[in-house]
Subunit: 109 residues, 2 copies
DNA sequence: CAGAATCCGCGTCGATACTG
DNA sequence: CAGTATCGACGCGGATTCTG
């Protein structure tokens, strides 16, 4: 029987990579909109500074987002997908499509 | 710009459906193994009674798992995917494949 | 076997204010 | 503009025990 408890269970590894409330949403808006600035992410997500900056920092370390900082005034920092997270694009889109069917199911009851 | 804050954002709807620590893992083991009994789920996941029974109850109400109870002694209850959650199968598998690539990346560093 | 009940720590998450 | 600092609440999630 396939189990989730194995350290090498791929689903376990994948789940750990996107755990938390905001990682998937962040990947989503980056998928849909491409490169975004910090405040654009914030608006698109409806997230607080604490959660956004912490989550982005984690994701950067895990290689899920790329951060580019321009030394201008006012500051400009842009976030985008990486090679690793870019591979999630079809999955994100399929997952989204599934969300649409859920939505249409809700309407009919 | 595509935003996550809209109530009708499909990603938002989809995320809400699988939120929490255990819903995706449960769907995964049901995808991989087919119908499972309560204790089989428990073993495959490494989850406590509280979390398993609560999460299953939620998922049943949301239409993500089907519960069939046989009135035998000792009791037997079997859980399986539904039409709605069955649609997630390709996504779960793709997500798993992504987990494999993560795993292979970990090995090489 | 398939849960329900209870108790509780700790991490998640958010609001608010502040800074280079 | 792009964050950091601090504080606090809430509830997720777990250990243990018990039941039909």
């Amino acid at each position: 029987m396939i189990v989730f408890t194995d350290e090498t269970c791929p689903m376990r590894v994948a789940c750990r990579a996107i755990e938390g409330k905001w990682k998937l949403p962040i990947l989503y808006v980056l998928c849909e909109n491409g490169t975004l600035r910090y405040n654009e992410l914030k608006k698109a997500l409806g997230i607080t500074n604490v959660m956004l900056s912490n989550t982005l920092k984690e994701m950067e370390q895990e290689g899920l987002v790329a951060r580019v900082q321009y030394n201008e005034i006012p500051p400009r920092v842009e976030y985008s997908l990486t090679e690793v997270s870019g591979a999630l694009l079809p999955i994100v889109q399929a997952f989204c499509a599934w969300g649409e069917t859920l939505l249409s199911l809700e309407e009919t009851d």
